[in-house]
Symmetry: C2
Subunit: 240 residues, 2 copies
Amino acid sequence: MIGRALRLLDAFDAERRELTLSELARRADMPLSTAHRLLNEFCAWGAVERNDKGLYRIGLRLWELGSLAPRGPGLRETALPFLEDLSLITRENVQLAVREGTEVVFVERIAGSGAVPVLTRVGGRFALTATGVGLVLLAHAPAEVQEDVLGSPIDRYTANTVTDPSRLRRMLADTRSNGFSISDRQVTMDSLSVGAPIRDRHGAVIAAVSLVVRHGSTTAHALAPLVRTSGQAISRALSA
Amino acid sequence: MIGRALRLLDAFDAERRELTLSELARRADMPLSTAHRLLNEFCAWGAVERNDKGLYRIGLRLWELGSLAPRGPGLRETALPFLEDLSLITRENVQLAVREGTEVVFVERIAGSGAVPVLTRVGGRFALTATGVGLVLLAHAPAEVQEDVLGSPIDRYTANTVTDPSRLRRMLADTRSNGFSISDRQVTMDSLSVGAPIRDRHGAVIAAVSLVVRHGSTTAHALAPLVRTSGQAISRALSA
DNA sequence: GCGGGCTTTCCGGAAAATGGAAGCTGTTAG
DNA sequence: CTAACAGCTTCCATTTTCCGGAAAGCCCGC
């Protein structure tokens, strides 16, 4: 049963990157001896490693494997220079994300020099409904996914989070027709994000880029052309 | 037996990111039915996924997990802006790598605009003995690792690759005293790389940065101060 | 519509995982 | 100094689970 072994790896997260055997066993809800044996096997293969204190952590081998994951063909590498440009010009937070199922997965994130602290993390997940990138990805997701998301209760993060399905539908329609999305204080009350689509050579939306700025510092509509242009530039580079 | 399941994941590599069931079974040397069942379990968990054609590939979930791997605390994120700077200034290839066992693992790589094509890849591995980053990492590795590497036959890539242990020892000593390493046409006959160490707050070398340029375009000694400075800047940023 | 390659399902035998318990190690307290 | 403790590692009999051959689907291209 491999699922059990994978539960162990699930025990790791951004806050807890290094765990003791007992913590792992507790979090994965299995006897210590079992956890111990499984971890030894993972160690032997390089999926996890132990630091000098004996704590377990995710191994480089797993990172290598993960870097083979298809986040578009070379998406991150291609997009990186454009994201840096955006970051240099605006000095704000830039994010690159893809959709997986009914969630956003953040693929790259560049922290602006004097920007709002933002709670997402590379490799992190978030609901599709609240963020700038999420709205873009949802707006261009298969109908099935949209129905699934809009049909389920929608997480609220702030007083501004839009949780009404019909209002969301309108926002998605706007996003499609405008070519950019706006998430105004939907995630935290002091931030606002503007997202734009990134398309493959066939025009299908495969990722999204966004700027996250402090609410009030700039208007969303001032940022939109910048983000849109960036998304288009990345799309073009991907097709080349 | 988890090792068997992991062998299956090993079948993926940079060239073969999407594989059929039969290919996977063949490469991992196991019966189709076994491979099939294991892959189903992996799919259920998100470690692998299937594209529209039914081909298997590494899943985003695995990428997420991998991004928790300790490549130094925030090494990649911290170093990225400095690497971009180097790349902008020189328009050459910039690489960031760590050591794992007796190999180099490339953690980040920025392709210069008009630079030599370089055969390494983010997430890729290479011998410690040939590259600029490798020499730095080997020069500051525990004695045990050095003996292990220098005591085994050393891979040759070009006519220039240094394979003589005593000559390598001298190069490592130079690397330590100079604060940078030079790999002159040791990997390919048209490239040269200059590496410098990145240290943690205790002064221990945890990573290396390098510039890879076309042989003859610049002298290594002209690049060295640039790379060294960059390495030191990253070290400082890491300690902050 | 038929042949070949690929994928999926099934099931009895066999092998490998399980987890309780006991021994170990290093740490803190008395 | 040693005793209690918490976490780590090893052991082994039990039994669950995985293994993989075989056969049945499923698609294509011919």
